[in-house]
Amino acid sequence: MTADRAISEVGPARAAAGRVLRAVGPYRPAQRWDVLPGGPHVFPGVAPRSLPTAQTLSAHLAELGPRPRGDRNLVDEVEALGLTGRGGGHFPAARKWRAVLDGVRTTHRTPVVVANGAEGEPASAKDLALLSTRPHLVLDGLVCAAEAVGAQDLVLWTHGGNHALHSVLVRALRERRAVLDEPAIRLVSAPDGYLSGETSALVRALSGGPALPQFGLAHATSVGVEGRPTLVHNVETLARVALVARAGAESAPRTSLVTVVTPGRRTVVEADEDASIEAALGAGGWPPGPPPQAVLVGGYGGSWLPWVAARPLSVNQLALRSAGASLGAGVLAPLPGDRCGLVETARVMRFLAGSSARQCGPCLFGLPALAGVVDALARGRAGRRDLRRLDRWTDEVSGRGGCHHPDGAVTLLRSALGVFTADSARHRRHLPCAGIGGAPLLPLPGWAPA
């Protein structure tokens, strides 16, 4: 295991130099974002590097034609495409639909279908980009999915804090209600938290509870909102359903929406499934010249990969999984040569510990403890004992929450300890690290503008 390798290099604990943390300072949140069209599929007609506006219903219908009805054939088409959940889990969509159909048969209750646009990941902007440019593509997919599983209850779940997005969606729903004959779609505002998009939290909130993850022996597909079978899909997944319904699995686009994080900016690109990470980063604004040290792949519950390993990998779940990573929520964050991966990881670990729902012991106590050790490591204050603890605590926290929040944090931490071995050794000897000059890279909420 990679963590063991890092830990075997522990040097003597000494008084901290404290220099490495100078890199952390006021940070301008990455509010700016671009959408770049990557093909004639999800983002057609969007001018490169422009702040996009939402496509109207008439423009949407003029471009793609009327929406076909969703039925059982659509389930087969979705299966033939091999469509997986783009919220981060990459669970096969067709299997979810079949589980909901089974749930309906066994419980004799009508199902609920939810489009999940609560993008809690601060580094990701793809769901925001999609909903703000192509709302009708997502809503088409939602209605198709509802028809395929026989649902009359349709919910669009997005962050209430984003007023601009909210008004785009209200306008889109009004347009549809005036023209189309389809079940009403309920727009529900999620709280702005990191975990609001977690399926069990969403189910709990839509059943009248708080938007916090819950424990259940049965999956939402059989016992979900108000105890009814519930199909929850990320908005990108549903946009792809709308394209499959029109074009069939054969000609549906095999692409992924990816957010490339560069200092102060998030850029959403549509990457072909065989495009390399290097190509996706280039499209997303990573300048030619010195390569990054490493790339954070997936998101804040994802993994750091060293540049040599990440560079040639294709931007699709199969290729990334074989490299021990996951496309997750589609985040690609290249780490410039003058930043410190440990300092960045320590910042994100603090954020993840603070974002816990404070419900389960492993998260409530384990994540702050882990964040504390990584922080000490980044400051050059970690001793041998701390590193032994780090090993034990990661094992104790992993897989033991009510949701996968602690698992993601442990994945991130283990990958950082594996990839930034040299930095970790330098920090322990109190030598200056490569990241001494750079400002923080990874966007987090609540950082004051510089």
């Binding site: 424990f215 012991g361 492993p362 384990g366 034990r392 104790e396 033991r400 009510g402």
Partner: protein, 73 residues
Amino acid sequence: MSGSTRRLVVDPVACDGVGMCAHLAPDLVRLDSWGYPIIARDPASPRDERQATRAAAGCPRRAMLVVQRRAGG
């Protein structure tokens, strides 16, 4: 293979780390660094079964569950 078809499951949301389960089922449950239960193994004997039942019944937070093991799981 064990002879039992039941297993112990912790509801981590309900659990407050009281630690009663580790006293009542010492062969099946150990506690992590913060006093929260880790299921060490599934019940494999009548003695284990008794411990599992006692741990579930004795949890003041009703966070320890005995459930039927799923086929293939």
